[in-house]
């Protein structure tokens, strides 16, 4: 990961679990991969409406 501080922050989110160094390395690799995936999705979804859970009036069709 380019930014070790960022990885440390992410690993702090784990809240629990004792992992071996090898496990932590595998987890860090996947977190790093997820960051790339999210960047791809952010670009893909850029013009998409934000999700909301609006209900419709009972007598009107959505």
């Amino acid at each position: 990961m380019a930014d070790p501080d960022k990885l440390t922050q992410r690993l702090a989110l784990l809240e629990g679990g004792e992992f071996s160094p090898a496990d932590l390395e595998a987890i860090a690799e996947e977190i790093e991969d997820n960051l790339r995936v999210v960047a791809e999705l952010e670009e893909f979804a850029n013009d998409t409406a934000w999700i909301s859970h609006q209900a419709q009036p009972k007598d009107r069709k959505a």
Partner: protein, 471 residues
């Protein structure tokens, strides 16, 4: 009729014989338990067998039927369920050490409905821990073996259910699907696996993998069996927030094999990387539809190339949320691979999760538009037949989380979007392993999926093939 003949009966035929009192529920159950005892050391498809309560249920069913109180097609039928459905007083482990001694004090809605239909629940099937996996090798209770070749995986996470039905240990089993956990094991085990539209079957009382993608699904050997088994368990349930208010279900009654002029969409660009035998079997299946009068439509929905990554991140974040408390307190009790997966999910931030949901919405709208052009989408279920057990979780080979025209996107988009999907056998490869094809309908077009799948089974005989283990 000897035991082998009895176990070879479809649910439809067995149901008819039980209703006509030509076979008793007790006989059907005993044959099933005998088969289970003979094979399960090899398959490891079951975590718990409830022989005693099942015998009592079968006896009650026989008494009711004799008294003229026949409840319907599941009355007296031996049924298994994935071991993440709660069953009052019966061990419910989720395939996990964490729940290895848990005896729930209530029935899940599925179990309630099965009991009301008079089904005889005889066992709880093995799975990837809490449904987190696609191989059924990630169970605290050991891996499930594929009846077609014991050195191959059964697929997951509902691998025990699929292996049981393929090995004729009961004609019917219920499982769940979050990513591909019904369709994939059905494909690898050469049987029919169906998951209805999101919200058709209540998930109340089942352990969640990822709440926005979890479905209850069914395994049987014929599509007609699936329709018969769907009717009694479908329906609105206020205890599941995703449950859908729907008309009374009559999928079996409405089954109609006339698919003339049906528009079948094929996403040809996503077939790159699909093994030759699977591609050949799928091409031959397309011809079956064309011969039945369907119109084959080449579809291009590039947004689906983002489906696998979107689905995987969604389920990763949601499963971390679900497992958070146990993960904090008992991370060491998870299967190690599952624990690592939850850890990765814990590190997904809220804003990232929302970005992923935005992408999901875009894919949903693109697929919605595609269903203006076609009635159903057909595709290979998996890119290859069941991989070797020795390859472990890497064996499926379709876990890419980056956008591409690969087949894993075809496997993932239906459950992520809540579409009805059915995998059914459509070939056998050179190693003697079954190949599956999936049919995906638009939202609430469950009947169309079942009709199309039934039409295919009427025109082919792949569903009559069975593993040498039970031949």
């Amino acid at each position: 009729m000897d035991d082998a003949e009895l176990l070879d009966l479809s649910l439809t035929d067995l149901s008819w014989l039980i209703a006509a009192r030509k076979v008793s529920a007790a006989e059907a159950l005993q044959a099933t338990l005998t088969r289970l005892k003979a094979l399960d050391d090899k398959l490891n498809a079951f975590i718990t067998v409830c022989a005693e309560s099942a015998r009592a249920d079968a006896k009650r069913a026989d008494q009711e039927i004799t008294a003229g109180n026949y409840r319907g097609p599941l009355h007296g039928i031996p049924v298994s369920i994935k071991d993440l459905f709660e069953m009052n007083g019966v061990l419910t482990t989720g395939g996990s050490k964490i729940l290895q001694d848990w005896l729930p004090e209530r029935d899940s809605t599925l179990v309630e409905k099965l009991r009301a239909a008079g089904a005889v629940i005889f066992g709880k099937t093995n799975l990837d821990e809490f449904g987190h996996g696609g191989t059924s090798t990630l169970s605290h209770f050991g891996p499930v073996h594929n009846p077609w070749n014991l050195d191959r995986i059964a697929g997951g996470s509902s691998g025990g259910s699929a292996a049981a039905v393929a090995a004729r240990i009961g004609p019917l089993s219920y499982g769940t699907e979050t990513g591909s956990s019904v369709r994939r094991p059905a494909s690898y085990c050469g049987i029919v696996g169906f998951k209805p539209t999101f919200g058709i079957i209540s998930r109340h009382g089942s352990f969640r993998g990822a709440w926005s993608q979890d479905h209850v699904g069914l395994f049987a050997r014929t599509v007609k069996d699936i329709a018969l088994a769907l009717d009694p368990v479908a329906g609105y349930d206020a205890r599941d927030p995703a449950s859908v208010r729907q008309d009374s279900s009559a999928y079996a009654e409405r089954l109609n094999e006339n698919v003339k002029r049906l528009r079948v969409g094929v996403l040809g660009k996503f077939l790159d990387g699909v093994d030759g035998p699977v591609r050949d079997a799928f091409t031959a299946s397309s011809k079956v539809f064309a011969d039945a009068g369907c119109e084959i439509v080449e579809l291009d929905v590039p947004e689906i190339s983002y489906a696998a990554m979107t689905s995987m991140l969604t389920s990763s974040a949601e499963s971390a949320g679900i497992n958070r408390r146990w993960f904090r307190e008992r991370a060491q009790d998870y299967v190690p691979h599952v624990a690592r997966g939850i850890a990765v999910g814990m590190a997904i931030t809220a804003s990232e999760y929302l970005t992923v949901q935005r992408a999901r919405h875009r894919i949903r709208e693109a697929v919605r538009a595609a269903y203006d052009q076609v009635d159903i989408i057909a595709a290979p279920t998996t890119a290859r037949a069941a991989p070797p057990l020795a390859q472990g979780v890497q064996g499926n080979g379709d876990d890419s989380r980056h956008a591409s025209y690969n087949q894993s996107n075809l496997l993932r988009f239906p459950s992520m979007l809540g579409l009805p999907g059915c995998s059914l056998p459509c070939g056998i490869d050179a190693d003697g392993l079954p190949i599956g094809m999936q049919l995906i309908g638009a939202w609430f077009a469950d009947q169309t999926v079942l009709n199309t799948a039934a039409a295919y089974q009427s025109a082919t005989d792949w569903h009559h093939r069975k593993p040498a283990l039970v031949d």
